[in-house]
Symmetry: C2
Subunit: 332 residues, 2 copies
């Protein structure tokens, strides 16, 4: 199994991606191709010992900035993202991981590896920790305007991923909506509900409200990329803000400040449970090869876990299942 890693992606590139790749080839029986500025990568690699032959470097003269427009990124044919994804297209590697510009990775992926046959719109899938496990929320930003059948395809893709990659036996699928009852919603979700309800092969259990994203009552929740993107950014910020308010209040009270020291083990456990570094990246579903996005502020552990996820993604052959399910729905 060979995973391509964008060594220039993320806020701390190439240091963190290189460190994550070194950890990955030590811990897993895989090889990694680091794509990016050869001089910088080799300088970083010099700091570590690792099994030779399991890490290759592919030079990419340019890279895509975090804030660069996807349309501009598409024209950089010598970027780490472009050359890395091209290895997948040519069948020379099994999966691609980047902590870089999500929009750019999606755009270049569409242009190089393309879509799974029958899939209209690949989706960015956020993997969110809930009280019991994880919720897959898709789409979180690739498709800001959706048709009802796009949401049906998201349901099929998310469900297949939960089943074949995460071994969730019968993933419970929900439609993000403004109320629980059938008949609630906007034009998009009312029609999507009808499609989801009559679709075979997915375990659609009904509407999910905003509160259900973290309730653990759903394994997969589908929505258009506008709503999903807002939810994702809102969640990240709210966790930070609540922690900040709590800290401000603790600092106001001397006795609480003393007590807070004893909380360290609990806080550590808390952070681990909501930490994206434990989760291992967000799959771009619907593309014709396994592509994983890691958080821009990923540390080496997050990169390593994203590589691990990419390997599971490739080994599961989930894309074949998605292709089969989509074609069955289209014919049905």
């Amino acid at each position: 199994m060979k995973v391509v890693l964008d060594a220039m992606g993320g806020d701390f590139a190439p240091q963190v991606p290189v460190m994550g790749a070194v950890q990955a080839v030590k811990d897993f029986d895989i090889s990694v191709v680091l794509v990016g500025d050869e001089t910088l990568i080799k300088k970083e690699l010099g700091k570590y010992s690792y099994p030779k032959g399991k890490l290759e470097v592919l030079h990419a003269p340019s890279s895509v900035r975090m804030d660069e427009q996807p349309s501009k990124a598409l024209k950089k044919r010598d970027s780490s993202i472009y050359l890395g994804l091209n290895l997948l297209k040519e069948g020379k590697a099994d999966a691609f991981v980047s902590a870089g510009n999500t929009g750019a990775v999606m755009a270049v992926s569409l242009f190089t590896v393309g879509r799974i046959k029958g899939v209209d719109r690949p989706a960015i899938t956020a993997v969110l920790p809930n009280l019991k496990g994880y919720t897959f929320l898709l789409d979180v930003g690739a498709n800001v305007d959706c048709k009802p059948y796009h949401l049906l395809q998201f349901a099929i893709m998310g469900s297949a991923y939960a089943k074949y990659v995460l071994n969730e036996e019968n993933p419970r699928v929900g439609l993000l909506n403004v109320g629980e009852e059938e008949g609630k919603g906007n034009e998009l979700t009312k029609e999507a509900y009808r499609l989801l309800k009559s679709a075979n092969g997915i375990n659609f259990i009904g509407n999910a409200e905003g509160r259900d994203i973290y309730s653990g009552d759903f394994d997969v929740i589908v929505c258009d990329g506008f709503v999903g993107n807002v939810c994702l950014k809102l969640s990240e910020s709210l966790a930070k803000i609540l922690a900040k308010i709590l800290k401000e209040e603790i600092d106001k009270h001397f006795i609480s400040k003393i007590g807070a020291i004893t909380l360290k083990p609990a806080i550590k456990g808390f952070k681990r449970r909501i930490d994206y570094a434990e989760i291992g990246g967000a799959p771009l579903l619907g593309l014709n090869a396994p592509v994983i996005i890691s958080h821009g502020s990923s540390n080496a552990k997050a990169i390593k876990n994203a590589i691990k996820t990419a390997v599971s993604f490739a080994q599961s052959k989930v894309n074949q299942h998605i292709e089969r399910e989509i074609s069955r729905i289209r014919e049905g």
Copy 2:
């Protein structure tokens, strides 16, 4: 100033509304009309002493359940919501407060007091605590499908409310979107951005992302009611879930459990800062009279604060400002 209170609204009616009304007439120089089951209300009132003549009771034979369809509520012409709002329509009272079914209050309000001239779609406005003060998010559920000019009207209404009721000098208005830059967004927000940018009389400072709802960088954020509703429910649940995870982790570690006791004053301060009971209810903006919704699980303090907000709403004459601004935009 006379405020009508739906005594049958909320999870703990009529006990909590009656207690809230008693507190309000003691604390503020106003009178309150309690609408609902006369026998039940009078039984509750018997428990308290309060300035006579400041609390009236209006009997309503029926009430609207929390889960009742707005269309059904509209037909209950003898409900506490209907009879209460009718007092506003007849000019016999200045404002209406309910902790009951938001959709029903909106529907009956539209039918009785009606809309401000020029307003196409009244909006439910959530008042959310941020790190520095409050953010008004609208719409959070009345209009799940919106046109760009609806979002412009929301901006005018939210801005006027922040300015005249909350004395915010030059409220910073944002458009909820998937990116900061102009040109980002779905069909709705791209066009709404154009309208907001060229509108006079509001201080539009650009796109707000999901993370900005609680950042304090915006005073008013506009969105369609679908996105707003999902954000509101997501926020409420996420705060609860994070608190639950933290508690689970504290319980796991004996030393943290001891330390947690010392945190009580900090936790109390924390709760006060994020507590809806302190906030005083959500205005329904665009209706031809002041209508305030209080949280379904309101306690007496929350009801009292909602009544206080209703009084400020009525005294500010913000609806006259909204009518003037909307007509100026329509002509301009």
